[in-house]
């Protein structure tokens, strides 16, 4: 009965959020602002991706930016190859390759002439890399903080490789000067309403798909693994398989966010798969509520939104970092399950007060006290 009502509440909250983000373009006509909002929504998708692995399965992936960056590069490569010939050097070769004395298009650039392949690769490349890393991590039963360390190290390595291979990746500069993505006759320019809608619709779909996944038995088992990985093994589940599955799904979603990010930013850069953004994702997730897909997405939008408006305003030019820091501390101290748990915390307070009045069986009081109820 309780869970039934909670499920309805949760679905309603998700629906309201999706309607709101889909209605934004009706009220915002400023293209610059819309582009900014589209960026926040892409961060929301990225944060949702981490919530899948960290919030639901307890896998703290500090290398999430690898997937994000690779997705972004896939899209950028496809768009670069379609840039009008004047900018691309002889024979359609990307300009930076010409500057680096590369004379023929490298083999792994070839398939990016096709959009279908690009969209596939943007999901599959991050997923395959996650699968390989995950295979070693989870077979070896690495868990907890060590997963974070390994994934962080992976991130640094891949980041260095991309910067180092300037001839093929554009190095520090990344891949810039891109054409506009066009699919089914629709142009997805960075400042267009179409791109905003693309991001918002994808976030909406992912929220509900993610919710469905986490309400399936696989989702349940993942949450059980988060609670007590060893115990799950003695029920006959191959824990490593489950962990690697969600690790790959999370990577693919982050890759999707990366592809969108290239559309919104009009370039790909090694900073997209650098340590700062990877750590930011963790903060978004934690602030919003990592064990809730909506919470994680909301956390990213709120944090990057506040960050953006504070750093843009003259009054807070010097102090905005301080204010952000204070916000994080307040959330971590008073809402350990993130902003999304505000409702639960208030309800819990009220319940406790109500229960404090008439003396009841101690057993029930124990059951009802939601000391650290995790928002789900």
């Amino acid at each position: 009965m309780i869970s039934q009502r909670q499920t309805t509440h949760r679905l309603a909250a998700y629906a309201v959020f999706c309607v709101v983000i889909l209605l934004v373009p009706l009220f915002v006509s400023d293209a610059y602002l819309l582009n900014k909002f589209a960026r926040y929504i892409v961060f929301g998708i990225l944060s949702l991706a981490l919530s899948l692995s960290w919030g639901y399965a307890g896998i703290l992936n500090l290398g999430q930016a690898v997937s994000f960056g690779l997705g972004s590069y896939c899209m950028a490569m496809a768009l670069k190859l379609r840039t009008i010939p004047i900018q691309t050097g002889a024979g359609g070769l990307p300009d930076f390759m010409v500057w680096n004395n590369v004379h023929t298009l490298p083999w792994f650039w070839e398939p990016f002439h096709s959009y279908a392949f690009t969209l596939f690769a943007g999901l599959a490349v991050p997923a395959v890399i996650a699968f390989l890393i995950g295979w070693f991590i989870f077979r070896a039963r690495v868990s907890g903080v060590y997963v974070a360390i390994i994934t962080l190290a992976m991130l640094v390595v891949i980041n260095l490789v991309i910067i180092d291979q300037q001839r093929y990746t554009g190095g520090f500069n990344g891949i810039t000067d891109l054409t506009t993505f066009k699919l089914f006759g629709v142009e997805f320019g960075a400042y267009s309403v179409a791109t905003y809608y693309l991001a918002a619709v994808i976030l909406t779909l992912l929220l509900f798909l993610g919710l469905a996944l986490m309400n399936s038995k696989t989702g349940l088992i993942l949450q059980a693994i988060r609670d007590d990985e060893t115990r799950v093994r003695y029920f006959g589940y191959d824990v490593a398989n489950y962990q690697n599955f969600i690790f790959c799904v999370s990577a693919a979603v982050a890759g999707l966010a990366g592809m969108l990010y290239t559309l919104v930013m009009e370039f790909a850069s090694p900073t997209f798969l650098a340590v700062p953004i990877s750590l930011s994702i963790v903060i978004w997730c934690a602030v919003g509520g990592r064990a809730s897909l909506l919470g994680a997405a909301l956390g990213a939008i709120v944090v990057t939104g506040v960050q953006g408006s504070l750093s843009d305003s003259k009054t807070f030019l010097d102090t905005w970092m301080l204010i952000m820091g204070a916000l994080f501390i307040v959330v971590v101290l008073f809402l350990p399950n993130g902003l999304i748990s505000i409702g639960d915390v208030i309800r819990g307070r009220r319940q406790r007060r109500r229960r404090a009045a008439p003396a009841r069986m101690p057993e029930h009081a124990e059951i009802a006290a939601p000391g650290r109820s995790a928002a789900r």
């Binding site: 009965m1 309780i2 869970s3 469905a212 996944l213 309400n215 399936s216 038995k217 696989t218 349940l220 088992i221 949450q223 059980a224 988060r226 609670d227 007590d228 060893t230 115990r231 799950v232 093994r233 003695y234 029920f235 006959g236 589940y237 191959d238 824990v239 398989n241 489950y242 599955f245 057993e363 124990e366 059951i367 009802a368 006290a369 939601p370 109820s373 995790a374």
Partner: protein, 252 residues
């Protein structure tokens, strides 16, 4: 009851960085039997369960389940062959509701992709609710397991084993921390499991052991010291010495 052993340990040895927890352990359990493992602290009882379910690896010896070698299999494969385990420290999924705990334990299909498609995941809802009733948890089905009292957590663990429905159930001190009344209720449930399941129970509470067991195996210093009915065991001088010896040390 057939005499052919369903579970057999032959000369099994387990080391913990030099310390020999089990040393040449031989044990045969027949199908449908309820075997109690007793012995002084440090006799290797829990380690014996651990080595059967794959939590620790045997350094030597062979463990066979229905004639098949399971000595080197990973835990989840041993579980799939029908070995369920209850740990000494109650381990339930604290963040999940009681219902979801049971749902996880009900593991007929184990693959990731088979389970992704199971959206409703409540085809066996009625069965699980009946199980909860059996152990008296029907009123707290939607509570998070972390909020259960100690007794309720123990019941939930037993319900998890019932949901898992393994052929062989390994129980490590199922009555730890229970009142006398709760202990007797547990004995009733355990007795009901006998026959359909094969049980291996580690227990200190002799009243409980007498209530449930057919054959008792006494372990001491990593090997079997004696085996027999409750009265045979109690009359065995070697057993007395083992327990007395321990008490002597404890009182020193």
């Amino acid at each position: 009851m057939s005499n052919e052993p369903i579970l057999e340990l032959r000369d099994v040895a387990v080391d913990f960085s030099g310390f020999r927890a089990i040393n040449g352990l031989n044990l045969q359990v027949a199908k449908g039997e309820l075997r109690c493992l007793i012995g002084p602290n440090g006799a290797g009882k829990t380690t014996a369960l651990d080595v059967i379910c794959g939590k620790v690896r045997a350094r030597a010896g062979r463990i066979t389940l229905m004639g098949q070698d399971i000595t080197r299999l990973p835990e989840y494969k041993i579980a799939r062959r029908g070995v369920g385990r209850k740990f000494q420290v109650p381990s339930v999924f604290r963040e999940l509701t009681v219902r979801d705990n049971l749902e996880v334990a009900y593991c007929k299909r184990l693959g990731v992709f088979a389970n992704v498609r199971r959206l409703g995941r409540s085809a066996e809802r009625n069965d699980l609710e009946k199980l909860a009733e059996l152990v008296g948890l029907e009123d707290v089905l939607d509570e998070r397991a972390g909020y259960l009292s100690h007794g309720q957590t123990q019941w939930l663990e037993i319900a998890l084993l019932l949901a898992q429905d393994s052929g062989i159930i390994l129980l490590d001190e199922p009555t730890a921390g229970m009142t006398a009344q709760e202990t007797m209720h547990t004995a009733k449930i355990v007795n009901a499991l006998k026959g359909r399941h094969t049980l291996l129970v580690v227990e200190h509470d002799m009243a409980f052991v007498r209530e449930i067991s057919d054959i008792i195996t006494v372990m001491h210093q990593g090997r079997v010291l004696a085996e027999g009915s409750a009265s045979e065991i109690q009359g065995d001088p070697a057993v007395r010495e083992a327990y007395l010896g321990q008490r002597g040390i404890a009182h020193a």
